[in-house]
Symmetry: C2
Subunit: 410 residues, 2 copies
């Protein structure tokens, strides 16, 4: 590493100053730095006469010969103004002070675990022979067509859309690279501010030539288990520093539950809900289903009314699809299934859903010029992280969240 | 892996059908699949009577006992229409057919190498203890203020901007995680369609607590060398399949050249250019400087006129900055330097450049509440890939490029 650190110096931010636990009139400095929190004992005379505020940046020369490093000199590099927030008990729904809350143990743990989750997801998919592709953000066609699209004035009087999903570019790349995935931002002009919806969503869309929706479920389950085991076995220290429980991780290492959409209808009715076959679940209904599972679960075979144009339709009106739901309150984490891989099949889907065929002509082309059967999934990465964090509110899994109807801050 | 492949079956896309090299009336099928191109001998009688078009998807049962796999059965899974483009000699500036050109050996190699470059960049930065952070796309303040910003109607009559850089969120996260990097899209409403400018740019912004601009140069050089060595030593097959030369990689493994901005002025004047100290290089001038180097090079100590508000200014009007340029025609790859880490310093910079202070108040706050000296860089990832590919046109490094003033396709 190019940046050399003096060996007898600890540098970082003051988290706390408190009387030393062994008495003797000394103080203890908790200094965050070098990826950990150091406890340093100091004679009070070493501290500035007018005090030292939390979050001030210090450089402490230490004698390491005792149980704890003992300060022999202390330099204030950057003195902090009194903080307007309490970092030891932060209000993580307060987005006005997010730029300061990122220093809290909770959000530092969140950012650290998020870093590891994306790393392990990629590690898993790379090992499957998948290529990571960067897909366009300014698109000529969004993919969900629900009206909840952000539009951007572009050159020459054109209007670009921000993508609601990046599945379509992954789907196209299957015909070049066979196994691909994306990892990038997608956008939904949502109205629900319910703790699981965001305006900006980082999404992983993976697509596999020759795969069926059953193959896909095996891949997804293995991937989520891989991440859970790595977090549980290697990052207990991060959970501990932020006071986060880890019990929910064990459930993610067990075989996931699976039920059909048809069985979910029966289950809902048994639970006292009035539910019509072919309808989508309300949040309340989805929560009711989740409450019957102690681990992540798949629901398979959604009827065609619930699935978009790129899914084929079986004779009985169901589709070869499976969605993965969290057992910890984040709702649907992954949606996926087999792709219509024949041109006529996709054109029929576009007509069925009332799409403008011209906008998706290029995706139909992919099918006209030799296309393998394939299957793919789209995963909401922020919800995935929230699941691993055990976070009820998705804002706790995102550093600078964009929440429906709230101002853009910071 | 969940998707099981039959062992005596080769599945994929027909690249070519040609007479077998050993004569005997047999044909050879080149089938792209499983990450390679298979050569399979076949009796002509096995092929469909009405021929087999290129890009058709086939499943060939083979006998592997000879030198080459010999077809014993062939099934056409998806018959391709005659292609409107020549994949053996593709026009990669033709964005109307990009969705088909992605199947060419050139763009498949490009996508494969791009996958590896991003992987090795992350591998290097992860090993430096950096955290990858995902930063917002819908922002309240873009960072360059040149007017070349895409704007997006947001909730409640607000206007969001698409970021011109993601440096500011990396900068802010230094005060939480010390070493961070971003990898995400940024946007420039450019006018230059000169082979090195794009509208959508994937950018890596890395930021390091306690680093100086000299530390930064060492990190950047080591990172680029790491990637070059990995590509050269492990992916010669990918270069070979696409007919790409690799000689330019060796230069990236050597120590990079370094000159000061002041020396670049002298150099330009010696080369016969009329150049005023404090001006930015034109493309012609930048190319003239590049032509004197046989390897990537840094230019350091840019005058304050050329650097934005977040850089401190030395007494002589220079800044502790360094930009990295390619020796292979892609211009500036990385811009970086020390960050103004004191509130007053940054406020002075904002005033000097005429920015709205209110929009950057949160970044000033980062400095008010305890801020380490730090330094960071922003790297144009697409140009980086183009450099490793030896690609003159940046469009060859991007699957679905967005080029200034061109339509959004696909």
């Amino acid at each position: 590493m190019a940046i050399t650190q003096p060996t007898d110096v600890i540098r970082g931010w003051i988290e706390e100053i408190r009387p030393a636990r062994d008495g003797g009139g000394r103080t203890e400095l908790l200094v965050r730095g070098g990826g950990t929190v150091h406890t340093i004992t100091a004679e009070p005379a070493l501290l500035p006469a007018d005090g030292l505020s939390a979050q001030s940046v210090v450089e402490v020369t230490v004698d390491e010969s005792g149980d704890l490093p003992r300060a022999t000199a202390l330099r204030v590099v950057s003195e902090a103004l009194p903080l307007p927030v309490d970092l030891r008990n932060p209000d993580l729904t307060d987005l006005d002070h997010r730029h300061l809350h990122i220093r809290s143990r909770q959000l530092r743990a969140s950012a650290t675990l998020r870093h590891h989750v994306q790393k392990y997801v990629r590690e898993f998919l790379d090992a499957q022979g998948c290529h990571l592709v960067q897909t366009p953000i300014l698109t000529s066609a969004s993919s969900v067509s629900s009206g909840a699209v952000f539009q951007v004035p572009y050159y020459g009087g054109q209007t670009a859309s921000l993508p609601q999903s990046n599945w379509m570019y992954a789907d196209a790349m299957v015909s070049a690279l066979e196994r691909v995935y994306t990892f990038g931002p997608t956008f939904r002009r949502e109205d629900d501010a319910d703790g699981i919806h965001l305006v900006e969503i980082w999404q992983v869309s993976a697509d596999f030539a020759w795969a069926t929706y059953q193959d896909l479920m095996a891949i997804e389950e293995e991937m989520l288990r891989h991440v859970a085991i790595r977090l549980r076995d290697e990052h207990a220290d991060v959970y501990a520093l932020a006071g986060l429980p880890m019990d929910h991780l064990d459930a993610i290492t067990k075989p996931f539950a699976r039920i059909s959409y048809a069985d979910s209808v029966t289950l809902l009715r048994d639970l006292g809900h009035d539910f019509t076959y072919g309808a989508d679940y309300t949040k309340e209904q989805s929560d009711a289903i989740s409450s019957t599972f102690d681990r992540p679960y798949f629901i398979t075979g959604f009827p065609k009314e619930l699935k978009n144009f790129w899914f084929p339709v079986n004779e009985d009106g169901t589709t070869p699809t499976s969605d993965l739901f969290a057992h910890t309150g984040q709702g649907e984490i992954i949606g996926g299934g087999e792709r219509a891989h024949q041109a006529e099949e996709m054109i029929a889907g576009l007509r069925r859903r009332g799409y403008d065929l011209a906008k998706f002509e290029w995706l139909v082309d992919i099918r006209r010029y030799g296309c393998t059967p394939h299957a793919g999934f789209s995963m909401g990465f922020d919800r995935l992280v929230a699941m691993y964090l055990g976070a009820e509110d998705i804002r706790n899994a995102v550093l600078f969240p964009r929440v429906p109807h709230e101002a853009i801050k910071p």
